[in-house]
Symmetry: C2
Subunit: 350 residues, 2 copies
DNA sequence: CTGAAAGCGCTTACAG
DNA sequence: CTGAAAGCGCTTACAG
């Protein structure tokens, strides 16, 4: 019979190092292969033996080293997330969805932002440390994307269509449809006809689709497209403010503004208020995204709700299908939803 | 002389597997030890040899497997971040700081949220996959914290003091000082004397410090503390709204509200507006954090700016000192700053 | 159902 | 400055 102190001694770690699988094997009187089996449940093990192993694991507080597992199994069990900027109002939602689903699927999440100047540094995320990549940025060098695609490395893009020669799956939202609903609402319900579109940065895919939705809404209502009504808002408050102010000074007439996103709407609000134009009476304003502050600004912003968190979850699901060698669809379009508040002219605020 | 196709063939990977260090060694005509040396710069290598190795690495697009490195070197080169919730307005700033600094220091970042029900599952972040942990949540089981501390595993806590028996370093902000400045401003500049404090959840450390600052400001101005003026706001809009409304119905008099954080302030705004009390004329309102929407709500919120991003950066720095075996201070308190806008009664909005 | 052994792809004393 | 070899801590055919 062991005394307590003997037992305590056995539990100590002589080299002051964490225990390994062979410590467990010794303690349970089995081979390391057997320990590995009960750890992974890969092969049946006699119940009593398994129990002994489990007890040993518990007593030694054994946790297998990830690196050793990865090296031996050639699976990292890790998903990499590459994104451009961590700021921004919708980023938390995206990450929340990605984190939750990654965890639920039993994977780890490694994240990298490409903002800052470390782009040219040594490889960050790739085959050497992940099983697959989620890419939410156009700043991942095209050649790197090409290389990864060539070696058949699993990738899922978010909010961005790949070049034709690289058929990489995409998860994104119904930008065009949402924009069309929004602009149609302004026309149908509020009789607006001179509607400004404050677009995002040149080449920004979300913005391009929103512009198409804008144009389609005009067409459907037989309103001619007026080029002077499309101005850059940059998807940011400052530029939106400046350019809105400029339009006003230039005397361009309009009775509504479709801000490219909610941040843009903030700039538009500021410019309109500064020149004493009433929102929504004189100028209706609508945004896109439905970020947190949309309901708090005054008047509360009518906008499109994008299922950002769900985009995150779905991207992970798609990627994991890919990892499992399953065939997946090339494009997942998530539905968007019109959220009516006050800034469009509707008064029925809850 | 090699023909192009011969060369191309050599570059191909027969087993359709990524190249390893020995592929590089063969190609450069050296041992794998030498390749490792030029890779890590650990030992001097003759320049011409090093160059040949570099060329081979480039040609084969060789990237060393992280797992193999980790296993051999016993260093994961990875920092783990454990947090409770990913939502919330200040989370992006925190993560941004952490990510940037982690990257700058040449580490990887593994993140885990403890929200959701996977708490009891197998170990997530620990000695088996990271070199150290950043903990921003009280939900990491105390026993796990104890275990890690016992094996001398590097940990840095954020916004939370450890129990006395676990001297784990902490990085947090000057809550008390900030609150005191804020409340003193209300008293000195705006003559308020019946100031409500809407505190956060019971046991929330940030809230407790803010309450102390509140009390000290009162004391300094010889204003007696009135228990009925401290109510729970829960650090969330909904509860803040409900309890503010209740105070008003109960006929409790007050001329200012120190909302525990900016989210709380939103709820306070809503309740005050609903009962037609003018902000700031009848009731001054101030928040804490200075999240994005603080400047956009109407009237613009006077609040305390907390250097969240810097908290993130500093935590990483502290942790890495710990990893390097350096001694660090037990507590880092980041300074907070008063941001005066309109809701306190000051009109000098930029 | 179980064990002995090879192997995953690196790093790092140890010699030379 | 360089190489041969041991070793990091697991998984996984292969036998039995």
């Amino acid at each position: 019979m062991k005394t307590l102190s003997e037992n305590a001694f056995k539990l100590m770690n002589p080299k002051n190092r964490s225990h390994t699988i062979s410590d467990v094997a010794h303690r349970a009187g089995v081979s390391i292969a057997t320990v590995s089996r009960v750890l992974n449940g890969t092969t049946p093990v006699v119940p009593e033996t398994a129990e002994r192993v489990r007890v040993a694991i518990e007593e030694l507080q054994f946790v297998p080293r990830t690196a050793a597992r990865t090296l031996a199994s050639r699976k990292t069990n890790t998903i990499g997330l590459i994104l451009s900027e961590i700021g921004g109002a919708f980023f938390p939602l995206l990450l929340k969805g990605i984190e939750a689903e990654t965890r639920a699927m039993g994977y780890e999440l490694l994240i990298h932002s490409t903002q800052g100047a470390h782009a040219s540094q040594r490889k960050t995320l790739g085959e050497h440390n992940t099983d697959g990549l989620l890419v939410f940025t156009s700043s991942l060098a095209m050649e790197e994307l090409e290389r990864l695609h060539k070696i058949n490395f699993p990738i899922v893009l978010m909010h961005q269509t790949p070049p034709e020669e690289l058929p990489i799956p995409v998860v994104t939202i119904e930008n065009k449809d949402g924009a069309e609903k929004l602009v149609s609402h302004l026309i149908d319900e509020h009789g607006r006809r001179r509607i400004v579109y404050m677009r995002g940065p040149v080449g920004h895919e979300d913005s391009q689709w929103r512009e198409r939705g804008y144009r389609e809404a005009l067409e459907k209502h037989n309103i001619p497209f007026a080029p002077e009504l499309v101005v850059e808002g940059g998807f940011e408050e400052g530029l939106a403010f400046a350019n809105m102010q400029k339009m006003i000074q230039d005397g361009i007439e309009f009775d509504a503004v479709f801000a490219g996103d909610d941040d843009t709407a903030i700039g538009v609000y500021r410019a309109l208020k500064m020149s004493n134009r009433l929102i929504p009476d004189e100028v209706a304003v609508v945004g896109f995204d439905d970020v947190q502050f949309a309901r708090y600004i005054s008047p509360a912003l009518t906008t499109i709700r994008a299922p950002i968190e769900e985009v995150g979850r779905e991207s992970v699901r798609q990627l994991i299908c890919l990892l499992n060698g399953e065939q997946i669809e090339g494009l997942v379009l998530m539905r968007t939803e019109l959220v009516i508040r006050e800034s469009c002219g509707c008064r029925n605020h809850p």
